[in-house]
């Protein structure tokens, strides 16, 4: 299946470390994932009301671009992109009115940069492009066994807790990613890297999401509860997939230390940073300088230079 890579705007902006370590990990696996040409913003959220059909246009535009570039599916790392693209597909497939309206609009959309050449005829989009999250691609296309073999620097002894957040899991009937109350995919991934994965009940909680901008005190309380639990359990680091979880959990820790005097910082790592580390990527390639809470003391303990061939 031809799969294109969709980083999304946040991965090329504030979450560059997530994009770069994704690409690095894919390279170290000996795989290839090419970015979808001329990709545009997915819109981040799914409209929950019936009349806001316009808020599905961004998602559909991107899925059409993916199809017209010759891909059968796209893979993305950002859970917001994953969730909204997956759900938009369902809306297009199941709701005739939305499908008609969005296709009518996008038929008029500018589809070429060159004003001389007429564009190819518009093909209706019916929801057939696959949407995968990187974790699913790791599990189903690459296989966690192969990932384990490529992790020549298994992170044995590093105690980590997985943090799923909300957009990867819910609503479960639409995302069909894993059990929303007892998911296992991120734990399985982390076990493949060799790290010690601790049991972490708050792993499916919400970090506060965009409320860290609109209602900062409330969101900080939600994030603090998660970090505090991670510290009590004895984790060395908390592993996330989402740039917004990362921001809420990492960037706001200095502020948290002011509000909660007994709070001690804990580093936050992207799952792909951990993977690249386990594949023996050099520490300076992991994008760790952008973190508010410096994970380098922890990461450097687990970084060794092993000179032996990577098994095929």
């Amino acid at each position: 299946m031809k799969v294109g890579y969709y980083p999304g705007c946040t991965l090329k902006g504030k979450a560059l470390a997530l994009d770069e370590t994704t690409q690095l990990a894919v390279e170290l696996l000996g795989e290839e994932l090419r970015e979808i040409p001329d990709w545009t913003c997915c819109g981040a959220t799914t409209p929950l009301t019936e009349t806001k059909i316009a808020n599905l246009i961004a998602q559909t535009r991107l899925l059409i671009k993916t199809r017209d570039a010759g891909y059968e599916a796209l893979v993305t790392t950002c859970p917001f992109c994953f969730s909204t693209l997956r759900r938009a597909n369902l809306s297009i497939r199941e709701d005739e009115l939305k499908r008609k309206r969005i296709n009518t609009y996008l038929a008029e959309d500018l589809r070429q940069r060159d004003y001389e050449t007429p564009p190819p005829p518009y093909r209706q989009y019916t929801g057939d492009i696959g949407v995968l999250h990187l974790l699913e691609w790791f599990r189903d296309t690459v296989g966690f066994d192969r990932i384990k073999r490529t992790c020549i620097n298994p992170l044995k002894g590093m105690k980590v807790v997985p943090f799923y957040g909300c957009q990867l899991l819910r609503p479960a009937e639409e995302l069909a990613m894993c059990d929303p109350e007892n998911p296992t995919i991120l734990e399985e991934f982390l076990e493949a890297t060799g790290a010690d994965v601790l049991d972490f009940p708050p792993r499916i909680d919400c970090c506060g999401s965009y409320l860290s901008v609109a209602k900062p005190e409330a969101a900080m309380r939600a994030s603090y509860k998660i970090l505090d639990a991670a510290k009590r359990i004895g984790a060395d680091a908390i592993v996330v997939t989402c740039p917004l979880c990362f921001f809420n959990l990492d960037d706001l820790q200095p502020e948290m230390m002011k509000h909660y005097p007994e709070f001690r910082p804990i580093p936050v790592l992207y799952f792909t940073q951990l993977l690249a580390l386990a594949m023996n990527a050099p520490v300076d390639k992991l994008g760790l300088e952008s973190h508010k809470i410096d994970p380098r003391p922890l990461v450097e303990k687990y970084s060794v230079n092993i000179s032996r061939e990577v098994p095929a």
């Binding site: 959220t45 929950l48 009301t49 901008v213 609109a214």
Partner: protein
């Protein structure tokens, strides 16, 4: 000053919310699991299950005037836990939409402090403007 709606107006309000959110609020059994799971129910002046009850009764003005609808992070824990699969986040969004049709942006680009907009990840701002902006 809350206007007292007539029973006919209240039935109309319920119908409007149900059509907009595509949720059948009438099957809610008021079990409270949504409220128990909501990460922000403590900050809300109306708990999620109370919002559903008010939707059943067509008390649209009270819903529109609540702070609760602006504390929803659309994490869908409510929808996930509900035994009859009601998406309470969708109901909150339906109320927000009616407010925004009257007011415009509830929280738009001008409401974000400069240092926050410079640091926050793009997805936070895009999703915020889509949810709380007009």
């Amino acid at each position: 000053m809350i206007r007292i709606l007539s029973p006919a107006d209240r039935r109309e309000a319920t119908k409007r919310l149900m059509e907009s959110s595509n949720q059948n609020v009438m099957i809610c059994l008021q079990c409270g699991k949504c409220t128990a799971g909501c990460p922000f129910s403590e900050e809300m002046d109306l708990d999620p299950h109370q919002m559903v009850r008010m939707a059943q009764l067509g008390l649209l003005e009270e819903l529109m005037n609540s702070e609760a609808i602006w504390f929803c992070a659309t994490c869908f824990t409510c929808e996930s836990r509900c035994p009859v699969s009601i998406d309470i986040a969708a109901i909150a969004e339906a109320v927000r939409l009616i407010v925004q049709l009257g007011e415009g942006d509830h929280f738009g680009p001008d409401d974000v402090p400069k240092d926050v907009s410079a640091n926050a990840p793009q997805q936070a701002l895009v999703s915020l403007y889509r949810k709380f902006g007009s």
